[in-house]
């Protein structure tokens, strides 16, 4: 019989001692010392969280109340500021008919293509200029000079060159993405410590190894910033181009509703644009934490 079994009350011959003799005093003591503080802590945390949420809701609730009261008391004509109920109803209409989703789809398609084209060429151009000093010396000054004109400014010229159909939107949004992505990527690549590259040379890394083992990991956080800026610019520009000239998409929906004096639909579209913006932000944050998980481990 192993030694440990001798101490086991189930295996030994001695009669079983009472497992637990709890008096009410014990219960109250345990409750006081263990359960209550834990409960209090949890309660305090939940309370703080609830308080934070509540505090955050005060201002929107106040604004909403003001809006509701304004509409109810007819301080501003209903044609200019429709009532919340009316806006809600309008949202229901365009949501149920699928119209809103179609417009969101059109805008998203434009953003997607432009991110692919503008973001892709921006990453390539930025990396190329970061790696080659000759290319940087030749291209960067011109690039910077041209980037001084906001992309919106180029749109009238683009209209003459490519018309006002889909190519215009893709061109304009791609350019808007290209500029920040190129400059940020260049920054990221150019700021890689020389020492790292020298280590690569000592290990006789091939060009591909240098790129994939040293340049890419070191530049990854900056590349992510570049992509984030690209997405933000794309979202800003798509609304602008669609407001200017389009026959579908969220911006078009806004401009069209405004020309019909349907301010309720304009507000609905703003809400949807904000919601999509929040979604983009959340997605980017998730991607960032996933992609850069390995960096966290270092600290």
């Amino acid at each position: 019989m192993p030694a440990s079994a001798q101490n086991d009350p189930l295996l030994s011959d001695t009669p079983l001692p009472p497992l637990l003799t709890l008096t009410t005093a014990d219960v109250s003591r345990i409750g006081r010392q263990r359960v209550w503080p834990a409960l209090q802590g949890a309660l305090r945390q939940t309370g703080a969280w609830a308080l934070r949420v509540l505090a955050g809701l005060v201002l929107p609730a106040g604004l909403f109340g003001l809006w509701w009261l304004t509409a109810r008391q007819h301080w501003i004509a209903e044609q200019i500021l429709p009532s919340p109920a009316f806006v809600w109803e309008s949202l229901g209409i365009v949501w149920d008919s699928g119209e809103m989703l179609t417009h969101v789809g059109h805008s998203a398609t434009r953003v997607g293509w432009s991110l692919l084209l503008g973001g892709g060429s921006g990453l390539l151009l930025g990396t190329a200029m970061g790696l080659s000093t000759t290319l940087r010396a030749c291209v960067l000054p011109t690039f910077r000079a041209l980037a001084q004109v906001p992309v919106l400014g180029w749109i009238p010229l683009l209209i003459i060159f490519v018309g006002i159909e889909q190519p215009l939107k893709i061109w304009a949004i791609s350019l808007a993405v290209l500029v920040p992505v190129t400059l940020t990527t260049l920054d990221g690549i150019a700021s890689i410590p020389r020492a790292h590259l020298e280590v690569g040379r000592v290990f006789a890394f091939s060009r591909w190894q240098v790129l994939s083992r040293i340049v890419l990991p070191a530049a990854l956080p900056t590349l992510f910033t570049a992509i984030r800026q690209g997405v933000m610019q794309a979202w800003l520009t798509v609304i602008f181009v669609e407001l200017l000239s389009a026959s579908e998409g969220l911006g078009f929906f806004m401009a069209y509703s405004r020309s019909l004096a349907q301010i309720d639909m304009v507000i609905v579209a703003m809400g949807v644009i904000g919601a999509v913006g929040l979604l983009i932000e959340a997605t980017l944050r998730l991607l960032e934490s996933r992609l850069q998980g390995w960096r966290r481990a270092a600290f």
Binding site: G56, A137, P150, P156, L250, M254, G274, A275, L278
Partner: protein, 265 residues
């Protein structure tokens, strides 16, 4: 002060790097060559000489200066309003936990609404005159300034605050002697960003809220509807130069204002 190294000295003595001229020279050569070919529509690809002559005539017209003046007026009024309001809210958000709890979520949610999406509502509420343009420009300046300022104020050193408490600084003194100086780098970079955004918004608002008044954005837009590529190109150059001027000015101001910090190290 360290002596400049031999390499740096040699670089300073050799010719400046002129490689940046390669690309523009090639592009302009290609451009002027193309406009002389019979298969090129010179209505769409206008010859460089026409752009230059348009620039020359425009620069002699008082309407041009009036337009630029109007745009600058809108830009700067909007920027001033947005920058003041943005700095104030940024300081409030940075200093007060309650303000962060109360205003923060709303601010960060509204920020997600793409900037230009405000224009139709603004136009419906205020019309499409100068007022709504200035409000829009102020709005565009507001966001980056608030973000940068609150970040700057949030990073004020706690030890410094304790020193200020020990020295019994009044709230005004804490604001002007501690918070604003320590947060000034972030505030200034926020203002710089705000200036860029304000110029973007000025051009955007002039395009979208087209109301037949003067403005450099409207000059470009008129060029499009009249199919005058030369006018558009000239307008773009002016827009770019003004934007560049703003950036340079902001950089200079930043260096000037932050000189005391550089000396500390």
């Amino acid at each position: 002060m360290a002596l400049p190294s031999a390499l740096a000295l040699r670089q300073r003595l050799t010719w400046p790097d002129l490689r940046f001229l390669v690309l523009p020279a090639a592009l302009i050569a290609l451009w002027s060559w193309a406009t002389q070919q019979p298969w090129v529509n010179t209505k769409i690809i206008v010859p460089p000489s026409l752009v230059l002559s348009t620039a020359w005539t425009e620069l002699h017209r008082p309407e041009f200066y009036q337009g630029v003046g109007m745009s600058l007026m809108r830009d700067l009024s909007g920027f001033t309003i947005g920058a003041l309001a943005g700095t104030a809210l940024g300081i409030l958000l940075g200093v007060s936990r309650w303000a962060r709890l109360l205003i923060g979520p709303t601010f960060h949610t509204l920020r997600q609404i793409s900037l230009f999406a405000w224009l139709p509502l603004l136009a419906a509420l205020v019309g499409s005159g100068d007022l709504s343009k200035i409000v829009f420009i102020a709005f565009s300046t507001f966001y980056p300034v608030v973000l940068a300022t609150s970040e700057g104020v949030g990073s004020v050193n706690v030890a410094h605050l304790e020193v200020a408490r020990v020295l019994r600084f009044s709230p005004t003194q804490i604001l002007f002697r501690l918070i604003l100086p320590s947060a000034s780098p972030q505030i200034l970079s926020g203002l710089k960003l705000g200036l860029i955004y304000a110029w973007l918004a000025t051009i955007g608002a002039e395009f979208l809220l087209y109301d037949f008044s003067a403005g450099i954005g409207q000059t470009v837009f008129k060029g499009r509807s009249a199919f005058r590529v030369d006018l558009i190109l000239f307008g773009l150059a002016v827009i770019g130069l003004i934007g560049h001027g703003f950036t340079r000015l902001a950089q200079h101001a930043e260096q000037r204002l932050l000189r005391w910090q550089a000396r500390a190290h």
